[in-house]
C-alpha cells in the first residue's frame, strides 16, 4: 500500500532524527550546553561514513568502498574527536556565547564540505553509498521495512544506553553540575571535565545519526547540513521536552510530522501559481507554533521529570 510505503520511509527518517535529538538532549537537557552547531557534527558523521564506504569515483580522493560497519564506527570515532577539539575550544564559554561559537563552527564545517571538493565532491556530493544487506531484499519497500526494524533496534539501544548512563553516578554528577555548579565543584567534581564528556558523547550520537541517514538515502551533499537543520532539531527538543529522552523522541516525531504535513497541506489547498506564498505561510506557521509552544508550554510536551530543583542557574 502506498501509504504504508511512505510511512515506513517517514518513520526511518524520524528515527534518525530521534537519535540526533537525543544527542542534543544529552548536551542541553542534561548538561545545559547550548550546541547550535548540531548540523556540523551530523555532517562529520555523514561525510566520514560516505568517504569511507562509497564506491570509488575518478574525481574523488576518498571513496574507499569499505564495509558498512567500518563506516559507522569510523563516523562515530571521527565525530567524537572533532567534538573533543571543539569542546576544548568552547567549553568555557558562557551560554549564549557557546551558542554563537558552535553556530559558527557548524557553518564552517558546512563550508569545508562545500569547498574541499577533492574529498567531499563539493556541491555535487558523494553518491553510491551502499546500504547494508541490500542484496538480501527484493524491492525498495522490503528493504525499507528491514531498515525500519534495524533503526528501531538502534534507537532502542541508544535510549536504553542513555538512560543507564544518566541514572548512573556519572549522570547524577552531571545533573548536579547543571543545577548548581559551585556546589558540585566544592564536592571535588570538575564541571568542565564532565561537560566536555557530555558534549563529546552527545556529538558522537549526532555523528552516528549522520552515518545512518546517509546510508538510508544513498547520497550526501553540503545542502543536507544547513543551519535550518539545527533549528529543526532544536525545535524537536523544545517541543518534545528537554531533559527527557522520550520527550526528545516525541518531539522529533511531532516536529517532523508538522513539517511534512504542512507541505502536503499547502500543495492541496494553495494553487500552484501561489505556491511560493503558500510556502512562506508554511514557514510562518511553523515559526509561530514554536514561539507559542515556548510561551505556553515551555517544558515541552513531556517536560523533564523533576528530580532536583528546576532553577537553571546561569
Amino acid at each position: 500500500m502506498g501509504l504504508a510505503s511512505y510511512l515506513v520511509f517517514f518513520a526511518c527518517v524520524v528515527l534518525v532524527l530521534c537519535i540526533l535529538t537525543m544527542g542534543l538532549n544529552l548536551q542541553w537537557g542534561f548538561t545545559g550546553l547550548f550546541n547550535a552547531g548540531v548540523a556540523g557534527f551530523y555532517a562529520i558523521g555523514g561525510y566520514t561514513h560516505a568517504i569511507l564506504t562509497a564506491a570509488p569515483s575518478p574525481q574523488l580522493m576518498g571513496n574507499y568502498g569499505l564495509p558498512w560497519l567500518v563506516g559507522i564506527i569510523a563516523a562515530m570515532l571521527v565525530t567524537a574527536v572533532a567534538a573533543l577539539v571543539v569542546g576544548l575550544i568552547t567549553i568555557r564559554l558562557r551560554g549564549d556565547y557557546l551558542a554563537i561559537a558552535t553556530f559558527g563552527i557548524g557553518i564552517m564545517i558546512q563550508l569545508v564540505s562545500l569547498n574541499l571538493e577533492s574529498w567531499t565532491g563539493g556541491s555535487q556530493g558523494i553518491t553510491r553509498i551502499p546500504k547494508p544487506l541490500s542484496t538480501w531484499f527484493e524491492g525498495s519497500l522490503a528493504y525499507n521495512l528491514f531498515y525500519l526494524v534495524f533503526m528501531v533496534v538502534v534507537v532502542v539501544l541508544v535510549y536504553w544506553a542513555l538512560e543507564r548512563i544518566l541514572s548512573s553516578p556519572w549522570g547524577r554528577v552531571l545533573r548536579a553540575i547543571r543545577e548548581d555548579e559551585m556546589a558540585a565543584s566544592s564536592l571535588g567534581k570538575s564541571p568542565l571535565s564532565y561537560r566536555l564528556q557530555s558534549f563529546v558523547l552527545g556529538s558522537t550520537l549526532m555523528g552516528l545519526a549522520g552515518a545512518l541517514y546517509v546510508t538510508f538515502i544513498g547520497f550526501v551533499s553540503p545542502f543536507d547540513f544547513l543551519p535550518i537543520l539545527t533549528f529543526q532539531v532544536w525545535a524537536m527538543l523544545i517541543v518534545g521536552g528537554s531533559g527527557n529522552n522520550r520527550g526528545a523522541m516525541l518531539g522529533a516525531l511531532v516536529v517532523w510530522s508538522i513539517w511534512a504535513a504542512s507541505g502536503v497541506a499547502v500543495s492541496k489547498w494553495v494553487p500552484p501559481s501561489h505556491a511560493a506564498q503558500g510556502a512562506a505561510i508554511q514557514v510562518i506557521l511553523i515559526g509561530l507554533t514554536l514561539v507559542l509552544m515556548l510561551l505556553f508550554k515551555p517544558r515541552g510536551l513531556l517536560g523533564e521529570r523533576a528530580v532536583v530543583s528546576r532553577h537553571l542557574v546561569y
Binding site: W28, F34, I89, T90, L93, G95, D96, Y97, A99, I100, A101, F103, G104, I105, I107, M108, L111, L114, N115, F231, W234, A235, I238, A276, Q277, A280, I281, V283, I284, I286, G287, L288, L290, V291, L294, L295, P298, L312, Y314
Partner: protein, 299 residues
Amino acid sequence: MIVQAIVDGIFTGAIVSLGAIGLSLTLQIMRFANFAHAEFMTIGAYLALAAVGLMGPGAPSLGLSFGWQLLVAACLAASLAGVLSWGLDLVVFRPLRRSGAAPLVLVFAAFGAALVLRHVLVLIWGHDSYFYTRELQLGVMIVPGVRVLPDQVFILALAIFLVTLLHLYLTHHRTGIAMRAMAESPSLSQVCGIEVDRVMKTTWIISGFMAAMAGVFSGLTPQLHPELGSNMLLSIFAAAIFGGVGSLPGAVLGGLLVGIAENLFLLVADPGYKPAMPFLLLLGVLWLRPQGILGEKTS
C-alpha cells in the same frame, strides 16, 4: 590592494557598526542573544522602500545616488522599526522573562521570531528584486589605487553622526544614563529606583532604529532582498562581542574591525570560506579576550 581593502572595510564596517550597536545593547541589558535583531535591518529596508514608493527616491544630489527623500523615508522606516522592535519584546520576550524562562529559551524564541518576520516580508514583497534607485555610481579615485563611492562616504558620515547622537543621549539624558546603569548592574539599578520597563522600552526602540538605518543603507548598494539582514547576522554578532558587549564605542570599533578583517581575509583566502570569516574572528576573541576589546571583565 591592501589599502583598498582597508578602505572598503571601513565602509562595510560602518554598516555593521550600526547593526552591532543595537545588538550590543540588548545583549548587555537584556542579557540574551537576540537572533531576531538582524531582521529589523531587513524590515527597515523594506519599510523605507514602501515610503520611497510613495515619495520617490529623489533626484540624485550632491553626487549621491539619491535625494533627501530617501533620508526622510529612512527616518520614518527606522522609527517604525524601533516601535516594532519594542512590540516584539512585549509580545514574545517579556512574557517569557516574566515566566522565568531560561535565557537560552529566549534565544530560541528569537530565532523563531526571526523566521516569522522574514517570511512575512516574503509574503508581502516576494523574492523579486527591488531598488531604491537605478542610479549606478562610479568610484572616484581619491588616491592612486583606491576607489571610493560618494555613497559610501555619506554612509560613514551618517553612522558617525548617529553614534555621536546616541553617545550624547547615553551620557546626558536621564533615560540614557539609566540604560548605562542597567547595563552595568540590573539589580543595583532597580534598587536605585530606575524604572526598568522604561529603560527596556527605550533600549528596544533604539536597537530597532539603528538596525533599520543600517538596513536601509545596506540596501542601497546591492538590492533589497529578504535575507539582507540575516546574511549580516554573524558579522554583527562578531562585531558586538569583539568590541565588548555593552560598550557603544566598542560596537563601533568592533564593526569597523570586522569590516576590515573580512576584506583583508579575502585577499589571502579562498572566497568560498568568506561566511566563516566573522566566526574565526569571534572564536579568536572569545578564546583570547572574551570581554572584547573595550568591554569590562566580568567573571
